[in-house]
């Protein structure tokens, strides 16, 4: 009996904080409840929540389809342009919202973290799962459109799982890095959010690689989401060639961002709680 008793050691925050995996495993129900609460809270009492989730990407699709139609631009995309934009936008929005949610996780959960002890990786990982709900809902119009245009995925559909994982890890990593930077440089939060919106236009979300002038290709490929986005579309629409180069770049960026992000976050998390 005495041996099973839980022993808690309280010490000053060290340079290299560890993650207590057992503690996180025991907190799994807490984690589930927080994910569920975040989903419930964003849709609570709305009659048209389904519509609001899909409204933003659908609006962009309308605007850019009209542009394309009027300007007679050649997109160099084999699949219908509507599918191209929409599929890119929903993944981008998942990335953008999750990265921002992770970066403000302490502030958003101030009411909790200043009153109760939560294992440290709980609050930053909640948006990763909770925001998948939005993505899942946005998939419904996509599937309807795919049926309409007669575009069906092949075996490559399996690729969307590793692609999603890469997106999640990238969002987590960058979010954690930004969370730490904004501890000292408050303006950085806005800069970060702003650049995420801007980056949408220098990525294969709306413009395909062939629409970008040759001279700017290096800027375009700097975006770590390029590989993930191309991989996502290959998976969904089953085109033949897989962009190995961009994919490897995306994966390495994701892993690097996660390592740096975790290191910084674990080291400064206690300061963030005190700074609220």
């Amino acid at each position: 009996m005495k041996n099973q008793e839980k022993i808690t050691y309280i010490q000053p925050a060290g340079r290299f904080a560890k993650i207590d995996l057992e503690e996180h495993w025991r907190a799994r129900y807490m984690f589930t409840m927080l994910v569920w609460k975040k989903i419930r809270a964003s849709f609570g009492e709305m009659y048209f929540w389904f519509f609001w989730v899909c409204a933003k990407p659908l609006l962009y699709v309308m605007i850019f389809s009209l542009f394309k139609h009027w300007s007679q631009a050649r997109t160099g995309v084999e699949i219908p342009y509507v599918l191209y934009i929409y599929s890119g936008l929903i993944l981008w929005y998942y990335f953008l919202e999750t990265a921002i949610d992770v970066s403000v996780n302490i502030k958003a959960n101030a009411a909790l973290v200043t009153k109760i002890y939560l294992p440290r990786m709980i609050t930053p990982t909640v948006p990763l799962l909770a925001n998948l709900m939005d993505l899942a809902i946005s998939m419904i119009p996509l599937i309807l459109m795919m049926i309409h245009y007669g575009v069906y995925p092949g075996w490559q559909i399996l690729m969307i799982i590793p692609t999603l994982l890469v997106v999640m890890i990238t969002a987590m990593g960058t979010g954690l890095i930004i969370a730490t930077i904004t501890l000292r440089l408050r303006d950085f939060q806005k800069i970060f959010e702003f650049s995420l919106y801007l980056a949408m236009f220098i990525s294969p979300v709306i413009f395909s690689p062939s629409m970008i002038p040759e001279a700017f290709h290096w800027v375009y490929h700097m975006n770590p989401m390029v590989g993930a986005l191309i991989g996502w579309r290959e998976g969904l629409f089953g085109s033949a060639s897989f962009p190995w180069g961009a994919w490897v770049y995306s994966c390495s960026f994701a892993v690097l961002a996660l390592i740096v992000g975790l290191y910084l976050y674990l080291r400064f998390e206690h300061e963030m709680i005190e700074a609220i």
Binding site: K6, T8, P12, M33, K37, A111, L112, L185
Partner: protein, 422 residues
């Protein structure tokens, strides 16, 4: 042998004050732009971080608590009570020092953490309990009990934003009351709901306190501390000033925070009456007429009442009564000492100024905190009345010669009968 479940070694906490912690973008830009200029002119480069002042809410705090002990943490505002509780709850980390805690902790810095207005009562119960570390099965097993205790009843599936504030806090407290941990850290969360529910909370809390549970209880309510706690930890400006048995600790705390033995009443303007006779000062003396602030149960107590009277306004005195009334910490009157009744109508002669003395040969009060009301009635008209004129701290002694005192739940008064239990 008692086994210590909380061991705290030299815990200190430092906060930096002065700067909000952030460095603004504009300052960074300005300093970067000016850097070559300053360097050229040989000016000192401004530090990017403002010089900060250090502030130590906790300094070298050490203590240890045995299994089953109930420790009240007292002290003035800003003495570090809440910081200590937050460190032991792992919400913040200490700057130096360490602590070991054995057992499952529930920390109630507030009740209803994580409650969401749009969620139903049921959903909030599960959410809140999960945040306190309960598993789904554990919450489900206690759910009916929680709902019963809160009295929310059929509204359990209504979003809590439609609850009255009383219902809301009752539900929040109910979850807290059913966590059933080995160690309970509480920060003054008992004051919720209406009077009846408050009483229910206190009873429940006393139940929770019983048994093998170890409790740390941060409170300003000294009577609650003296009722519930077996020990007190008195923090003063971040340091431990006292750690030991409750009665002594509270008495010492009172002595330090209420400096003068004889308290003047001239600055009390919240009095009623004509003012023809007014109390100036109230003092406590022991049997040898030495001023004393502390009295032990069963000891002789003499109360001195200095007064000033306008004899020409009063005129002939047909009857006169001076009254001292003892109240307990709940504000209930325990007994009074009316001079006209006790002294067979022979109230001592009235002069311009003077001091009346009331002698209580054996103080029949349990250890605790009591307040005294004063009143003077001359010719059936109130001339002066002061509610809670002075506080009396009674410490423990062997009143019955049995080595024990009755539990406080049986009342505050002690009566020595000639009859005995047979």
């Amino acid at each position: 042998m008692a086994e210590s479940v909380i061991e705290v070694f030299d815990i200190s906490k430092q906060y930096e004050i002065g700067s909000g912690g952030g460095l603004s973008m504009s300052k960074l830009a300005r300093e970067t732009a000016l850097w070559p200029y300053r360097k050229m002119r040989g000016q000192s480069v401004l530090p990017l971080y403002r010089k900060r002042q250090n502030f130590w809410p906790l300094r070298d705090v050490s203590f240890s608590v045995d299994r089953g002990e109930v420790v009240g943490i007292i002290g003035a505002n800003g003495a570090g009570k809440s910081t200590l509780l937050k460190i032991l709850s792992r919400i913040v980390t200490p700057t130096s020092g360490s602590a070991t805690i054995r057992g499952r902790v529930s920390s109630l810095i507030e009740v209803g953490t994580g409650f969401n207005a749009n969620l139903s009562g049921r959903e909030n119960v599960f959410l809140n309990a999960s945040l306190h570390g309960l598993s789904r099965e554990e919450v489900a097993a206690r759910f009916d009990e929680i709902v019963d205790f809160s009295g929310v009843g059929k509204f359990i599936d209504t979003p809590v934003k439609h609850y009255s504030s009383g219902m809301y806090s009752r539900l929040a407290f109910s979850v807290a009351a059913h966590l059933d941990p080995d160690l309970l850290f509480v920060d003054e969360v008992l004051a919720v709901g209406d009077m009846a529910f408050q009483q229910k909370c206190l009873n429940r809390f006393s139940e929770m306190v019983g048994g093998n549970r170890t409790v740390l209880f941060v409170s300003h309510n000294l009577s609650a501390v003296s009722n519930i706690c077996s020990k007190v930890l008195w923090l003063d400006q971040g340091r431990v000033r006292y750690f030991g048995p409750t009665e002594e600790g509270i008495a010492a705390y009172y002595e330090a925070t209420m400096p003068s033995t004889a308290q003047t009443l001239e600055t009390r303007f919240d009095r009623t009456g004509s003012g023809d006779f007014m109390f100036n000062k109230i003092s406590f003396y022991d049997s040898s007429m030495q001023p004393s602030e502390r009295v032990t149960t069963g000891q002789e107590l003499i109360i001195g009442l200095e007064y000033r009277a306008k004899l020409e306004m009063i005129g002939d005195i047909r009857d006169m009564s001076l009254v001292v009334i003892f109240k307990n910490d709940k504000g209930h009157r325990l007994f009074g000492l009316p001079s006209d009744v006790l002294a067979h109508g022979q109230t001592p002669r009235l002069t311009e100024t003077g001091e009346y003395l009331v002698k209580i040969p054996s103080l029949p009060l349990l250890p605790g905190i009591y307040d005294l009301d004063l009143g003077c009635i001359i010719n059936r008209a109130t001339t002066d009345k002061i509610v809670s004129a002075k506080r009396l701290i009674v410490t423990e002694s062997d009143f019955f010669g049995s080595g024990k005192l009755p539990p406080v739940q049986q009342g505050d008064l002690l009566v020595r009968f000639d009859n005995e239990w047979r």
